[in-house]
Symmetry: C2
Subunit: 349 residues, 2 copies
């Protein structure tokens, strides 16, 4: 059997294999990749832009959430489905305006559980002022889908879309701790959730949340200085930085010691033999910001309640390491932070 002839879990993990497959299977075969004057499927971000004709842009993003288990410390698939697509619109500089949801549920799923999931989703949309304008609802026979999956599409308006790539000299900023969501889902999928007291005590939970309160004022005030913004979901921080380094043709150098990672995330990742830099965050932002404004941006982010925001590295020119991410170790020396490959955690989002 030729393994390359079948879809593998790695094809869905947001890493090298996925990008190769969707490039050959989809992107390269699309003739009309964008609406004139906008950005489309060949733009390496989670959303697309359509010009509105008045100088503003419609930002739109769609994602199907398949996270397993559907309930986890810190939220559920409904929280994630609303926050995730809101964040994709925010990362392009959009102000989220309206959403559509499409739910697929397995026959026999408890209506009470479905109700809790829908309530969590609607709560996020309501809190963020996002109208829910339409949707779809499908039931699949028992055994043909595992519990519930939700697609959300979020639309927003951007006056100053963030569509650049990082430039030489830029500082790389994170809004806070990374890897929380990935660590939680990994522990639950391994069946050890009940033995992890940090989950029980609320010391370790998914960070799934919308970043509206961070990104809308930030883009309003510092939009001209933010070259790129991403939420490090599938593939984690390592994934975002590698995509940026490749797109910019620069090297991104990051200080390992400056990356904020919670103690239990670090500990359990080490215990399980995974690198937390590849674990998904669902409530964090990574920014590439003009060096002259970077310190001010960090201060402003902290003032918005993101006290752990900080500069973790910078973008440099390099012939030798062009397209690579280098990690400056806490014990000295550099190592290449490889782009994500394989299937670290299936059904993470």
């Amino acid at each position: 059997m030729d393994r390359d002839k079948f879809v593998k879990l790695a094809h869905g993990s947001g890493g090298v294999e996925m990008h190769k497959l969707i490039e050959s299977l989809i992107i390269s075969r699309v003739e009309k990749k964008k609406v004139e004057g906008g950005l489309g499927i060949d733009y390496p971000d989670d959303g697309a832009l359509i010009p509105m004709g008045n100088g503003e842009f419609l930002v739109i993003s769609t994602d199907t959430y398949t996270v397993s288990p559907p309930f986890f410390p810190g939220g559920n698939i409904g929280t994630l489905a609303a926050a995730g697509s809101i964040n994709d619109v925010l990362m392009m500089g959009g102000v989220p305006l309206a959403a559509l949801d499409a739910i697929v549920v397995e026959e026999g799923f408890p209506i009470e559980d479905l109700s809790r999931i829908v309530d969590s989703m609607l709560f996020v949309f309501r809190e963020e002022g996002v109208a829910v304008i339409g949707g779809d609802f499908k039931v699949m026979p028992k055994g043909s889908v595992d519990k519930v999956i939700i697609n959300t599409t979020v639309l927003g308006i951007a006056r100053k879309p963030i569509v650049d790539v990082p430039r030489e000299g830029d500082k790389v900023i994170v809004s806070g701790h990374v890897g929380d969501h990935g660590a939680v889902i990994l522990l639950l999928q391994m069946g050890v959730g009940e033995r992890v007291e940090e989950l029980e005590k609320g010391l370790l939970k998914s960070d799934a949340r919308p970043l509206t309160r961070l990104m809308v004022p930030l883009v309003e005030k510092y939009g001209d200085h933010i070259r790129a913004a991403r939420d490090p979901t599938r593939g984690g921080l390592a994934g975002v930085l590698n995509e940026w380094a490749k797109a910019a043709g620069k090297v991104i150098v990051v200080d390992e010691g400056k990356i904020p990672i919670r103690r239990p995330v670090k500990d359990y990742a080490e215990m399980l033999g995974v690198d937390p830099l590849y674990l998904a965050s669902e409530g964090a932002a990574v920014l590439s910001v003009d060096a002259a404004a970077a310190e001010e941006v960090v201060e402003y982010m902290r003032g918005l309640g993101f006290e752990d925001a900080r500069i973790i590295g910078e973008v440099r020119g390099s012939e030798r390491y062009k397209g690579y991410v280098l990690l400056r170790s806490t014990v000295g020396g550099y190592r290449v932070l490889e782009p994500p490959t394989g299937d670290l955690v299936p059904r993470i989002c």
Copy 2:
């Protein structure tokens, strides 16, 4: 065990049970149901409208396609996913402009099959001039989803959106034969596909196709006379007519003998004990048109290549039968055409 506490197949079939569940579970709990000046989740159609500020409207529709089997005579899940969401935008009077797709596939699915599905989807979008501007791709572990499901979101622009309800005196027009898609999928799901020679010979196949070439010129020319337009998918013609009768507070009277149904659809439906008026079409339109223009509209539709377009009934005022659909039998007399209930064909679209 209380059966009402669990999701049933009927909750996803587009009938009475589904409308009740999504009303209580979702629609009634959404605070902001539309963007100001537009139409949203409480509007009984498959799409939503957002005002563009220049008198035009953005039309947007999302649907997740779960059809089983994914390949069928007349197309595959890719054809259906593109055509279905295009048609939802068309039925609101929109000109389809851009699409996003979100694919979920089971680990182990043959890449060659996935490639055929994607090609079919992209072919439809390309032929209809619809840009594919973004998407998502997820893989679920073997056994956690049955093969492949696809969500598509299509955006369009409407100058004259079709947002009315049928009015007294309107004529009801269908663009052609109904029930083809439903009959094909039903036969395949019952495992008798190989014994049905009409499937083999191409005499019976899914009608899944985009209706751009019908609806765009029709709305351009007769938009002011078309009160309502729908594609009779889940719940079939009976579903659309019942929703209209209820929304309008009128009775819709339809001539059974005038409804175009192909011979094999009629025969196999009778053999299987189902009513073809409840079987899904994926390439037909039902219109409620101002009586004064109805004959002209039918002629125009025929000129566009829809030779089987015809008037099948009309909208009347009635205190007694308000909200009902009456079928005038070919052998004389009337009977109530009930709204769809139960789960006639799961995973039809």
